[in-house]
Amino acid sequence: MSTVTLKNVWKEYGRDVVLENINLHVESGEFVTIVGASGCGKSTFLRMLLGQESATRGAMELDGRPMPDEPGPDRGVVFQKYSVFPHLTALGNVLVAEELGTTRVTGRLFGRRRREARERALKMLAAVGLEQAAGKYPSELSGGMQQRLAIAQALMKDPKILLLDEPFGALDPGIRQDMHELVRELWERQGLTIFMVTHDLKEAFELGSRLLVFDKVRHDPQAPGAYGANITYDIPLSHTTPHPSVYRAVGQRLGVDPYPSAAEEEG
């Protein structure tokens, strides 16, 4: 239904290599979480999947066909910030997703079609727990509510693929847990393919069905831009707690001690 395939994909900015020879095949319905050191190219990777940037070498395919080279409704996205339109209310933000693409000239719906779209929008807001906040502007919403709104907005289009770039990075732990439940529930119900970048290893392990670790394999101290990152670990996650050695290995790879207590307890 929506497979993603990357063949020998490179990304370079001028002489700086960011991503190096990436090969990847992701099946429809996978939940891919991505971790890696800061600046190693995770956001760049997502922007390429989104069509916002193109590969400098190699081929990217969506369902066996070349990836469209501009963003479109088949790939939804939630950024860490600036994901919702500040000039529209919560309801307006979800409604606009329905209006864009259906109406060519005015960009607005009227009459019966508007009422129907409004119904759907309200349902979607309820699905992410924002029915009370329908009339509020994003600046009046908390960070977690804004991200939930962004997810609702992205899901209105029924995208095949949902791209999340540290969507919960700015949220505090309690709200984060709620968001995890929300995203997993939506993933299971809608059969989406999800790519999610995160800095939180625990989140990466618990949420996804497959974990990718991006890292540079080669380093040239004289020229830090000479080599790019690659996928150094590709771990299927079964949602039983992974073996502590896996945590430790990934943690070492990234040069952090991400989850020491859990690893120690079980190890």
Binding site: L50, Q52, E70, P71, Y82, H87, L88, L100, T103, S139
Partner: protein, 272 residues
């Protein structure tokens, strides 16, 4: 003692401090005027408040002996129409060109250098050309205002559009928007309050160009009147006219500010 940058005046002081310069200027004027008038009651340079009020009331309420019109109101309406037309046209051009050059790379490459050069030309230097090409009627005066402020508005709007977070443009595309819908549903609504802000900043220049063109060639208008009576050193009329123009400029600014606050409630919230 806290640093000066960390000291803020309390509520009553704020008002008092704001009024202070006005009161000072008024006092200086009153005393200077009183001194001069004491020496020579016919001194024209610094007329008394009462004399100015009389003259102002006269032009506001008594028909002109020659034309039979109420001078102040004719001058005001004529000037405001010129100003409104000029500013309105400049806003429209500025918005359209600014949005296009800010959003569409081809439009940017085509027009951006041209607009930059255009905005370097001193508008008043162009005034004679406008009078020669368009005649000394209304068109040339409106054209001067447009020429004077449209490039500024264009460049400001272009910059605001370029400053829109990339994420929002991408987001709109993932929701299926085409270029036109992105302009209509994302860029225009976000840029509108900024257009009003830019216009507020441009209003000062707009008044300058209005008064300059009226001073040179007109038969009525606020600027025309001031420069006409200058020949007779008629400070009794000039000073109230200047105050009147200042009041109008202040009100125009206030109206724009109120529109932004009422129509775009999200705008200030996001800024803070």
């Amino acid at each position: 003692m806290k640093r000066l940058i960390n000291q803020t005046p309390g509520a009553p002081w704020r008002l008092a401090l704001g009024l202070l310069p006005f009161v000072l200027v008024l006092l200086v004027y009153l005393s200077a005027s009183a001194t001069r008038l004491a020496e020579n009651p016919d001194d024209p340079l610094l007329p008394s408040i009462a004399a100015m009020a009389d003259t102002f009331a006269e032009v506001a309420t008594e028909p002109n002996r020659r034309t039979g019109e109420l001078t102040l109101w004719v001058d005001t309406s004529v000037s405001l129409i010129r100003l409104g037309l000029g500013v309105g046209i400049a806003m429209t051009i500025g918005l359209v060109v600014g949005v296009l050059t800010g959003l569409i790379p081809y439009a940017n490459r085509t027009f951006s250098p041209f607009v930059s050069v255009l905005s370097m030309i001193p508008p008043l230097a162009v005034l004679p050309i406008l009078f020669i090409a368009l005649g000394v009627g209304e068109v040339a005066k409106v054209a001067l205002i447009v020429f004077g402020i449209a490039p500024f508005i264009m460049r400001d709007i272009q910059q605001r559009v370029e400053e829109l977070p990339r994420e929002l443009l991408v987001k709109a595309q993932t929701l299926g928007a085409n270029t036109w819908q992105i302009i209509l549903r994302l860029v225009l609504p976000q840029v509108m309050p900024r257009l009003l802000d830019a216009t507020r900043l441009a209003l000062g220049s707009a008044w300058l160009f209005l008064i300059a063109s009226e001073a040179i060639a007109a038969t009525e208008g606020l600027g025309y009147r001031i420069f006409l009576v200058r020949r007779y050193l008629d400070m009794e009329l000039i000073l109230p006219y200047v105050l009147w123009i200042t009041l109008l400029a202040f009100l125009a600014d206030l109206v724009l500010r109120l529109i932004v606050r009422v129509v775009f409630p999200w705008y200030r919230a996001r800024r803070s």
